[in-house]
Structures are given as C-alpha cells and as structure tokens.
Symmetry: C2
C-alpha cells in the first residue's frame, strides 16, 4: 500500500464498528496553532452509507447545533464516502468530553423542526434534501452511541 | 431569513457564477491560532452538481496533491450540496496565491493515473467511485479557472 500523507488513507476501514467517534489527528502548527479533527462514523464502511439527500440534510441540521454546543468549531463536513462526517475544531480536546458533546449535538439536531437554510438563497442544492430520514439517522446515531 | 452562525447560510448562492474560489472566513482564535476556509465551487449552485461517485473520486485524487502543493492543509471536504469543496488551512493567506495553488492542485490531481486508496482498507465506500468523470471535472475546473 502506497504511503500517503492523508490520515484517512492510513486507517484500516475493515477494523471498525460503526457508529463511533474517533480522534483522527491533532495538528500542532508552530506558527499558527492547534487544531483537532474527529471522524464521526455513522455507517459501517463499505457496508452501508447515507444517501446524498440524507447526509446533506444532516449537515444542515447539525451545522447550527454543533456550533452552539461545541466551542471553537472550524468545520463539519460530510465524507466523500457518505459514511459519516469530519469535525474540525480549535485546540486539543478531552476525547470523552468531545464525544459527549457531539452526541448531544446530534440529539439537538434531530429535534429541530425544519431543516435550516433549505432554500436557493442559503443552499447550493436546495432540492437535494431528505429531512425526515435525516432526523431518523440522527436519532439512530444517538441511541446507538448511548 | 433566520440569523445563523454558519457562514455558508449567510451567503447568497444565487449571486455567484461557478467555477470560483472564495475566502469564506478567517478564524482568529485567541488561544489556539489562525485558520482560513475557502469555498471551491465547481458547479453552479442549484443548477448543477457532482454525482456522489464523481465528487468522491475527486476528493481522493485531490487529497494527496493539495497537501503536496499547499502547506498547512487541515481539511479538504466535499460540500453536502455536492457543488464543490471546502478547504481549511492554517494561517491567513494571500487570496491570489492560494487560488493559484488550488488550481495547480486540481491540475495535478487530474493527471494522476489511478485514484489512490480506492479499496476497502483505505476507503469507507470503495465501490462509490467514478474515476474517469472525476478527472474530466478536475480538468474542466482548471481550464475554466485560467
Ligand atoms: Zn445545502
Ligand atoms: Zn473514500
């Protein structure tokens, strides 16, 4: 296997059981600071994945809530493989604490009535949404992570 | 429109012409440092989008190359709306310089023979790939951005 500088390519996707939350990397940049990245895996790799409309609605539902609940959020993005999200935050965090806050964010997101920003002004693809199934997947993650 | 703390929800997706590269935000965190985020828009919002297999292969092709070409890359992730990518890097960058390096990364990615890590060990969804179309989209972006 070719050696790469991409963390996820160094990770054996056969050896995990989803759902899980894992610290991927803590970048400590001499000049610019400390940033941590987390792998929030909703689906079992290579067995299941989230339909694009579902993961897109989950992204919208989570975007606000995760920033309310976790300080210093830089980015929350779906994975290209559609099996989960990467969360990027400032600083080095206590793993159990951030895990609890991520689950709390998923719970809060699952309780939002309407998907925020699901319109052509605020979204790049407002037709690509599955709000109901997104909320089901958020709830499922919460109950399995407990 | 409800006020949010999500930058992309504050951005009018009707008023842009893709492809483009735009600075979304520069986070200056007192304790932890400086991080910038860029919106790399490949498709016109709400008119066109990248199929999941295409954007996934583009993510793999770009992952290595963008880290070779741009220092201090923290994350490159597809957007949930499938119209482009968010790039997160350490520090505040000169916009013209980083734009040029992003285009250079797309060019280098379009020239890679095989999609890296397209297997069940290194990828979360190794069947969800469209390498040929991904390379076409990377090339198209480069030629339109020139
Ligand atoms: Zn959207
Ligand atoms: Zn992959």
């Amino acid at each position: 296997m070719k050696k790469t500088n991409v963390e996820s390519f160094e990770f054996d996707h056969r050896k995990v059981t989803a759902p899980y939350i894992r610290e991927v990397v803590v970048y400590e940049n001499e000049d610019y600071g400390v940033v941590s990245k987390y792998d929030i895996r909703v689906c079992q790799p290579n067995e299941d994945f989230l339909e694009p409309g579902i993961i897109h609605s989950m992204e919208h539902l989570l975007a606000d809530k995760i920033r309310d609940i976790i300080e210093g959020v830089i980015d929350l993005s779906p994975m290209g493989c559609l099996t989960g999200f990467y969360l990027t935050v400032f600083g080095k965090r206590d793993l159990e604490e951030i895990k609890a806050k991520i689950v709390e964010s998923f719970k809060a997101a699952s309780e939002v009535e309407e998907v925020p920003a699901m319109n052509e002004i605020q979204c790049g693809n407002y037709r690509l949404h599955q709000p109901k199934l997104a909320k089901v997947k958020l709830e499922e993650f919460v109950s399995k992570m407990k």
